[in-house]
Amino acid sequence: MEEQLLPREELRPAYGQAVWLYVYRDFSKSPADLAAERVCLRFGMTAFPQHFLVHPGTLERLADTGRELKGFPATVDRVKVPASRSVEPAERVLAADVRAAALEKSGSVDAARKSIDDPDVLVRFRALEILAGKDPRPLASRAAALLEVPNDPFRFLLCEALKKAADPAAAAALEEVAREPQGSLNPNVLRIRAVDALGACGGASSVEVVRPFAASGEWRNGLTRTSVDALAAIAARVPAARTQVRDALAGAYPAPPADAAEARMCVSLAEVVHGALEKVTGRKVRFPDPYDAAARERLAKAWK
């Protein structure tokens, strides 16, 4: 899309109104790819392609031009940035790159603990990488503050670390993110990560947060299966939550679709729900063939 849009004659006046930065990742880990990775991490990008206008001093996202010609030149024209005699913000970023590289090279847990509150988000990310790998447990008590860092790669990795820590102290903060993934550019994926971590950290209160995602019936959304798995994991760890989980899962059998082409995916999800219920209850119930509306209704009652 952009390859057709950006060379358009109508955009020519905008060429002089911004500095145009092209960032390309090939995941080769070459110096150029690693430089591109740093930019992506700094701007919290987890999906491609993306383009937006940023302030060169604060690196704040100022506007999105969209992918249509209509409105694109006007958006670039509207965004004003005063000229600056100082290039200190650029030097600050360079210095942070040096700190991040040193931290990554050292792999030191002590240094990572100190750097997790660095003013630069790339340094924080590198610190988190080390702690997630070597010492995730202390992150649980700080989960609420750290999950507020407005950067998706950071929050995705933090959820993984919290899952590894498996500490109930992180549950409330994860529940909050699962309910409302505020400020995320990729909210569904952030939700998936938070729910996945709740499988390891959550308790009875988490069941009500996860229940609507499990019961959504959206077999194409990874959040649905992750939620079913998380509920089963909570039931396995927290005996007091088992009845609540059983009821949540019994309500998670997806509605059979009118479209036959979708039926296979629907049945596949129904089987996942069914398997989770067997694990949670320790009972065996025959999975019906065919799986239709009547069978779904019977199954929902079969576990009571």
Binding site: Q17, W20, V23, D26, P56, V87, L94
Partner: protein, 60 residues
């Protein structure tokens, strides 16, 4: 092997002919005066008083 060579030759010919960059290409789209280095872009934008248009893409 012959097929790989043919594809490589075709790619070289298309590149030489100035065909538009593919989506997710190492070569940026034609048009804007692209900068590839973040520091250079930031310094330039600060001095000139302009926003940075950041275009992030990846290999497909």
């Amino acid at each position: 092997m012959r097929r790989i060579r043919s594809v490589a030759v075709l790619a070289a010919v298309l590149g030489a002919a100035g065909m538009p960059a593919r989506a997710g290409s190492e070569t940026p789209p034609k048009g804007p005066p692209w900068v590839r280095d973040f520091h250079e872009a930031q310094v330039g934008a600060l001095k000139e008083g302009k926003p940075i248009f950041v275009y992030l893409t990846k290999t497909h």
